[in-house]
Symmetry: C2
Subunit: 149 residues, 2 copies
Amino acid sequence: MQISSRFTIAIQLLTCIEVYKSDSQVNSEFISYSVGTNPVIIRKIFGQLKAAGIINVQRGGNGGVSLAVPADKITLYDIYRAVDSVEAEGLFRFHERPSAKCAVGRNMHSVMDGRLKMIQGTLEKEMSSMLLSDVIIDMRYIIENEQEK
Amino acid sequence: MQISSRFTIAIQLLTCIEVYKSDSQVNSEFISYSVGTNPVIIRKIFGQLKAAGIINVQRGGNGGVSLAVPADKITLYDIYRAVDSVEAEGLFRFHERPSAKCAVGRNMHSVMDGRLKMIQGTLEKEMSSMLLSDVIIDMRYIIENEQEK
DNA sequence: TTCGATTGTAACCAAAGAGGATACATCAAA
DNA sequence: TTTGATGTATCCTCTTTGGTTACAATCGAA
């Protein structure tokens, strides 16, 4: 099991918006080049991030994207949830129909649901503690030091 | 993204072994009935748990499975790793080839790898804190209270 | 040694999801 | 009206998951 690359793509996308916004309006063409993929993939992620209220997207000439919220109000968990639509169903999956005639099968959910929720909770809590703004600060720092060489 | 149901199936499988071992040797037929799936699915998970040294499997008449290690030495993380073979690649995925010509693309790994490792680490730590033996204790307790009604 | 029960595994299959590509409609601004 | 951008429909390939059938390999006991 792996978390979709849409998550790291979305982080890169948002980082690009902030790092390059002074140069020009950032668009799907540019980001797809940075990520190494197709502009349509980026636009689909635009749609998910927009639906979550994280970015504003504008069509037309001089269109492109910008943050809808300050970067220090956006956590990695916000991004994760925006981009991973299955989240509503929970991180863990049970087999559809454990037998009601077997005592163990019948009670698996009672025994496990709390534990699985706790595991999922720690994942989400850790992600929530990380801010997009800190990612951007680190990125800017690395880029500056690169140029000094 | 969801964690494969093999994980919860494996937990149920191991719970069945301990809860029903006094009655008779537990086999793939019985467990598949409890889970509500096919015996072959269960046998494939047998193979993964055996490779991880968690269970012993015996062929032939009066064959079946038993724990290779006491239940209080088996954590949910042990089970997770035994059953989810992709774990070696890490929980998160990057797009294959972020552009080296874009400063942001070029430095994404430097900026993100540490954070992603931390998130994955908290997930694993939480799973490691949960023992199979506790799951079994809870299961036995629920089953006993059920029968009192 | 033979028989029955069980695991091990090969060979398929269907469904779903991920990532990708092309094409084109839609929209905004100059 | 033209240009450049997003929105989205459609199609494609791969991989993973879960499932099923079939049968070989193995063990225990009669």
